[in-house]
Amino acid sequence: MWFKLEQVSKTYLGGDAPVPALREVSLQIDAGMFLAIRGPSGCGKSTLLLTAGTLLAPDQGDVVLGGERPYQMSGDARATFRGRHLGFVFQQFHLVPYLSVLDNVLAPTLALADTPAAIDPRVARDRGLELLDRFGLADRAGHTPARLSSGERQRCALARALLNQPRMLLADEPTGNLDSENAEIVLAAMRDFVTSGGAVLLVTHDDRAAAAADATLWMNRGVLTQPETVQAK
């Protein structure tokens, strides 16, 4: 299994009372798998995604990606690892407002700069233009995100997530702000990614999105209620 969560727990402190977000969650995803996680708001879905994405260290349990334990790495090493192997897609797109569409897509190359995995700028540019073309944004390369529609922004974010050719995509409600046409485009792209050997962990409320996944897990109050191992369709 390329990705494993073993008995992972996470509790948020600081409020009136501790809020357990993940309770001994175990999960394994291999390459070529598309997993959706569904559940009510506040059930811990996003926490699971961030923990899987090496952005939120668990209080206990083990997280293994490609045989590495990113939470045992230094912050910078984990960041580089994240930039090299993981791609993120968010409901709010999170594009950098002052960069052009192409520059936004190329932004992940910064993470690999000065590392052995650094991508040649020309190769990166070609790859970025290719992705924009693939997502129907070739003529928008020089525009800023403010001039794009929601669907175009999410396609731009998806292109950004795919630029470094990651092993896994982590998507948090990627179709939440999209019309059905754009949602289809995004989900189709994710399926293509899975088909080409990548893994997708999707957190969603959207039935259509969940339907595109190989399997759907349910989460309630930080506990996964479906089988832990997901097989590809």
Binding site: S46, T47, L50, G53, L55, L56, G75, D76, A79, T80, F81, R82, G83, R84, F88, F90, Q91, Q92, H94, L95, V96, P97, Y98, L99, D103, L106, A107, P108, T109, L110, A111, L112, A113, P121, A124, R160, N164, D172
Partner: protein, 457 residues
């Protein structure tokens, strides 16, 4: 895609934040350059003013020196003329001559060799001038039936070791006669008139005005003729002289010197009134010299006052700079830091996503510190340029002297190469100021938890 590209794109996107940071840095740099320029101009202006004043004082003293020298020369001439008018004031007489005879009768009886005059002239005597060998005898003018003083003179014997001086008393040529006032008024003589004296004919060459002394009853004729009339060939009664302007006990000095050259003689002094006047003139010269010294002291005092005044002004400007500079630098640092903090706050989401994309701590720091450094470079250079102008304007406002207006940047730079260092170092300092001020904000950005930002959505 590079971090530099990211920095430039962000700057062009949020121009106001960057411009405000540049302005804050520029004001700080301006303050540094302007303060340094003002202080260094002050020093140069002070130097120039002091040189100018020193030169003016020296010129004034030089003028005074010339005036005193001229006054001295005038005094010498005045004394000489006075002596000429009043007659010789030093008499060298045979030791056996009773001076009372001269005072009572205006006549002398004892004689000494005429060659004594030459002997004195050949010596290196310093205390007397204008040697005049004479015979002097009160006698009856039988042809006119009046008593007169016969004065035989041959003209002055030149002192060999001195420059020739204009004689005080012109020689009376043989066959000529100079007549005192009482005589010529009584007898109604005129210049050119021929008269008989002791069976010899003389032509009157000059009539003296009234002198109020024995000169009024004196006849001057050639020494040789007088010696012949009196039967005193190669002998004289006295050698008349003018004393020099000696300090101290003059007559004692004259006596000491003459006794060494002409043993068996005595020296007496006449016309104390004239001497008193001469002394008064000498005193006046001393007063003039004292005035010169006072002038020098006054000049030095003026210079000292000017220097003190300039030093006070410089100290005032320095103190103002010492107060304003840290204040401006602190305010600029706070402003830059605050702007950087606001920028970080505003870019939380962007930082979060960049961290999620894999940017390392150092890279996030570079994004913010690079921007700060750029604002430092631009603000520093702009501040230097503006500071030069502000320093010049401020310098003129704070110091309205004519000299100050003649000292610009070039003059200040030439006079004080340290200013060049300031101009070169200020942009560097501006970069350091801007970077350090933004450091805290950049650290906050780099340590921002991406998960918190992304969960915030």
């Amino acid at each position: 895609m590079t971090l530099t590209h990211l920095i430039f794109r962000e700057i062009t996107h949020r121009k106001l934040n960057f411009l405000l940071a540049v302005m804050a840095v520029a004001i700080a740099a301006l303050a540094i350059v302007a303060a340094d320029l003002v202080v260094r101009r002050d020093a140069e202006v002070t130097r120039r003013i002091m040189v100018e004043k020193q030169s003016a004082t020296e010129a004034a003293i030089e003028e005074k020196v010339k005036a005193v020298a001229a006054a001295g020369a005038d005094l010498e001439d005045a004394i000489r003329l006075q002596m000429k008018g009043l007659g010789f004031n030093v008499l060298v007489l045979p030791e056996t001559q009773d001076a009372a005879e001269l005072h009572l009768k205006g006549s002398l009886t004892e004689t000494m060799p005429e060659s004594y005059a030459q002997k004195l002239a050949d010596s290196k005597i310093m205390t007397i001038n204008h040697l005049l060998p004479t015979v002097l005898k009160q006698m009856r003018w039988p042809e006119q039936d009046i008593d007169v003083v016969l004065y035989g003179t041959r003209g002055e014997v030149p002192l060999m070791h001195r420059d020739m001086k204009k004689p005080v008393l012109d020689a009376v040529k043989p066959g000529q006669m100079v007549v005192g006032h009482a005589i010529h008024t009584k007898l109604g003589f005129e210049v050119g008139q021929k008269v008989k004296f002791m069976d010899r004919e003389f032509t009157i060459s000059k009539l003296h005005p009234e002198r109020g002394s024995s000169d009024d009853v004196t006849l001057w004729i050639d020494l040789g003729q007088a010696q012949e009339i009196l039967g005193l060939q190669n002998l004289v009664h006295a050698i008349l002289a003018l004393e020099c302007e000696c300090a101290g006990d003059r007559i004692a000095q004259i006596r000491a010197e003459i006794s060494g050259i002409l043993p068996g003689t005595q020296v007496i002094e006449r016309y104390s009134q004239a001497l008193a006047r001469a002394e008064s003139r000498t005193k006046a010269k001393e007063v003039a010299e004292a005035s010169l010294a006072a002038e020098k002291l006054a000049g030095e005092a003026t210079l000292a006052r000017e220097l003190a005044s300039r030093t006070r002004l410089q100290r005032g400007h320095q103190q103002m700079a010492n107060f304003v500079l840290p204040l401006v630098l602190t305010l600029a640092a706070v402003a830059v830091g605050l702007l950087a903090y606001l920028n970080v706050r505003y870019r939380r989401e962007e930082i979060g996503i960049l961290r999620a994309l894999g940017l390392r701590t150092r890279q996030v720091m570079i994004v913010f510190l690079g921007k700060a450094a750029l604002s430092g470079v631009i603000g520093g250079v702009a501040g230097v340029v503006l500071g030069i102008g502000a320093g010049a304007v401020l310098g003129r406002l704070l110091d309205r002297t004519e000299v100050a207006s003649s000292v610009g940047l070039t003059e200040a730079l030439i006079a004080s190469p340290g200013l060049f260092v300031t101009l070169m170092a200020t942009p560097v300092l501006a970069v350091v100021l801007s970077t350090l001020s933004s450091w805290l904000a950049a650290t906050m950005a780099a340590s921002q938890d991406a998960a918190v930002v992304l969960q915030g959505e």
